[in-house]
Amino acid sequence: MTGSEPLLDYLGRYFSIVLFIGIALAFGVVTLLISYLVQPKYPEAEKLSPYECGSEPFSDARMPFPVRYYIFAMLFVIFDIEVIFLYPWAVVFDKIGLVGLVEMLVFIGLFLMAYVYAWKKGALEWD
């Protein structure tokens, strides 16, 4: 490995990242493990009951929740994909000239149409 070979150099960069991920994970697991070994363990029913301001927990905690959360999650997925399309365009912007600019204006126009539609439909209202 001389560093001048492009593929090896390329893989080498990702190797450091994989190494980092491994070490961060190992740090977490080992810390939890050692803490698990040294900590006291005195479980009892009262202590293990989920916190509910001191009263007995009633009903299942995994209750239904507003569908709003799903709507925002779906809006996020749609818009975030469009944002990701902007990244490669932005990186090569100075090489693609007027054609690239106009094409992306059209794309952002479409983005804006979806955005205005969602706004008018009330999808962006929380209440």
């Binding site: 977490g28 900590q39 916190y51």
Partner: protein, 356 residues
Amino acid sequence: MVEVGVKIVLSLTQIAVVMGVVLLTVMFLTLAERKVLGWMQDRMGPMEVGPYGILQPVADGLKLFFKEDIVPAGANKFLFSMAPLLALVPALIGFAVIPFGPDLTVEVFGVQFKPFVISDINVGILYILAFTSIGAYGIILGGWASNSKYSLLGGLRSAAQVISYELNVGLAIVGVLLLAGSLSLVKITEAQTGWFWNWFIFAPPFPQIFAFVVYFISAVAETNRLPFDLPEAESELVAGFFTEYSGMRFAFFFLAEYANMILVSCIAAALFLGGWNAPAPFLQFHGSLAHLLWLSATIWFAVKVYFFLFLFFWLRATLPRLRYDQLMRFGWKVMLPIALGNILITAIAAYLFPRG
């Protein structure tokens, strides 16, 4: 094969140093936050452990380490244990692509080695965005697995908030990418060398000041800090998604939050404030001291990062918490149009007045 071994050892050392610095910074950030908040409220902050309370974080850490990890009855045990790791690991590994100093290459036993960045991959900023998004899973899974109503509500709120502001972060960065023409944080920083007017926050043809404001506000929201700390709004949700967590697992969520604060501060410094570049070239070591450039450069980088961290505390001391509908409306109806408009104007300006 010797080279591979040397490379692994060098990488390991580098990773250990970066993780050590980040974790130490997190430790003392908790103290710094309490001190800054205290001074802003005309109090002293922690004073008992060590001189001026300097050992408070050590005491807190040790205490949490030896505390019982309570798993509430009815919790999904596997997810409950995994969630803190899922929050912490992405927050740590984001630092892999941050350039802490100049892009030097030294040769150690015949191996090319860059001491100030762990890995200069050409998709750096995308890598960070991808992994910080995984952190949101830790929060929502932790909330769901706890089998507590407060945790579930906190987790849901947090997930909705994080994804809403993630979008704004993504859009705000596009303006910088247009000017820099690269996704690598090393190259983005290098595009800002020279005087401070080359920093992308001031740079011609269109200063990214709007993008910067959108980025920073969204970053505060993404890290669940005040005034956007609704997921853990203690006056209504007890502690939000980590209500049921105790001991080291609780500490991991805490570490993740602070590590994320440092990470977004590093990104803000690198993207908008020139990273390790000084405001003026003569404020770096140069000429006969040029071999010490790395020293002044890392100091400048640290100064910028600490400025942002101080801003986090300052915001917390100053602003009251938003209401949830205000938060979502602000994200989707104010920040998003500003960020989109910034992209349009930057693109047109960059086309009409190309940089160098």
